[in-house]
């Protein structure tokens, strides 16, 4: 017994290191939804409390630029409303109006941006009390930003599109060719579009938009343009590089997108064998 105690005392530093490393690895790869959710909620609460006062202070320095951007965005939205109005005059959209709008949006402010990690998470100043829930889409002035990952009462975290775990359904604006958009972890303005078969014509400069196949984003939100296309010698799919229109390193205001029919869609998918 004595030699066991002696060994523990002698190798106490190594044993402590091994124990703490195991805790870190378990923490890192924890797949238990309940525990990871509990831990993430409490860390989100403290993270929000610490980052918000700094953000309030620093936001005064770029008010002029923000005003210009908001004005530009207002102008774009006004044009969209006018366009919709013109369309409804021509077409009878009564059926669609009866069912109510599918998507709604909630403006939010980004209080912590991140784009230097491989799994970037953003922090928003809106949470459950504002109607934000897990798995809602988030868009910016010029395109998609990410998907809500975790919520507390007053804050929420967003899985950025610059996160190597995330795949977004995307398609070509001019055709209905779909693919999966993902980030390789390198440049914050470049992503890869996978699963585009070589039978489809693809050109540099083509616009990529959201596909609408998932319930996170409505169809047709601009993502970026194709900056590079490689056709492999013996493969059936292109290697397509997409340049994002949104500058992910300079975001301040975003919109959380809610889908009124999301539960209905999920329920239907779960019932389908």
């Amino acid at each position: 017994m004595q030699w066991v105690l002696n060994a523990i005392i002698r190798y106490k530093n190594f044993l402590l290191y091994f124990f703490l490393l195991s805790i870190s690895l378990i923490f890192s790869s924890n797949k238990s939804e309940y525990h990871s959710s509990k831990l993430a909620k409490s860390s989100l609460f403290f993270s929000g409390i610490i980052h918000q006062p700094f953000d309030i202070f620093s936001s005064y320095f770029d008010l002029r630029e923000e005003n210009r951007r908001l004005q530009q965005e207002n102008n774009t939205l006004k044009n969209l409303v006018l366009d919709k109005f013109k369309q409804s005059e021509i077409l009878d959209l009564e059926e669609e109006n009866l069912a109510g709008p599918t998507y709604w949006s909630l403006p939010a402010k980004l209080i912590r941006n991140s784009f230097t990690q491989n799994k970037n998470l953003l922090l928003l100043d809106k949470g459950e009390k504002n109607g934000v829930a897990k798995e809602m889409g988030v868009i910016g002035t010029h395109g998609i930003i990410g998907i809500v990952n975790q919520t507390s009462q007053g804050y929420s975290t967003v899985l950025s599109i610059l996160n190597m775990d995330l795949k977004i359904n995307a398609k070509f604006k001019h055709s209905n060719v779909f693919g999966s958009l993902y980030w390789t972890g390198d440049k914050p303005n470049k992503m890869q579009l996978a699963d585009i078969s070589v039978i489809n014509p693809v050109q540099v400069g083509d616009t990529i938009v959201t596909g609408g196949m998932s319930s996170y984003f409505p169809e047709g939100i601009t993502i970026g343009t194709i900056s590079k296309v490689d056709r492999p010698d013996n493969g059936g799919y292109y290697n397509v590089e997409v340049e994002l229109i949104n500058n992910m390193t300079d975001i301040k205001y975003v919109y959380v997108i809610g889908n009124n029919r999301r539960e209905e869609i999920i329920e239907l998918l779960e019932q389908t064998p």
Binding site: K12, N13, F14, L16, Y17, L20, L21, I23, S24, L25, F27, S28, S29, L39, A40, S43, L44, F46, S47, I50, H51, F54, S114, F115, T116, Q117, N118, K119, L121, L123, T157, G185, D186, K187, P188, T249
Partner: protein, 167 residues
């Protein structure tokens, strides 16, 4: 001893706050952020018990993981750097590695700089490796480690020079 620990933990608290609020937002070249909180691990007295030092390393990393929403990479990097520090200090500081204040007096400037550089580089390498956790991203891991190390080294070497007690 109590006075040393109270000063040390105050410094640790200030550095972690600065890291979260300022240095994590620098984004030099679009991806590089200096890890100035490593001063905590670098200046901790070399003669103190390593058991306590490993615990401090873990606490610093774990707190940063919670507050910056990263999944364990800070904890793993800090606790590993704390564990292998005796090897680094013996290699870099030479015969006088066991001086209580070897970071400031009793050692050559070049040795101290080598010690700081190795502590930062090993930490950044472990951090980037566990953040990406894939050898397919070897070049990105290497690029991030080198850039962050150089950037952090300049800041930490300058800060430690300022903290140096006057002879």
């Amino acid at each position: 001893m109590i006075q040393y620990y109270s000063r040390f933990f105050t410094l640790a608290f200030i550095l972690m706050l600065l890291q979260m609020l300022i240095f994590d937002r620098v984004n030099l070249f679009g991806f590089s952020n200096p890890a100035v909180y490593l001063i905590i691990l670098i200046v901790y007295r070399l003669t103190q018990d390593q058991f306590g030092y490993i615990l401090i390393g873990f606490m610093v990393g774990f707190l940063l993981d919670l507050l910056t929403q990263t999944a364990g990479a800070h904890s793993i990097a800090c606790v590993s750097t704390a564990f292998i520090r005796p090897v680094i200090s013996r290699f870099a500081l030479g015969a006088n590695f066991d001086q209580p204040n070897a970071m400031f007096t009793g050692t050559l400037l070049t040795n101290r700089m080598l010690y700081i550089f190795l502590m930062i580089f090993i930490h950044q390498l472990i951090f980037s490796f566990f953040a990406y956790f894939s050898m397919a991203h070897f070049w990105i891991i290497f690029k991030h480690s080198i850039t962050n190390t150089l950037f952090t080294f300049i800041l930490i070497a300058a800060t430690i020079n300022l903290l140096q007690p006057k002879q």
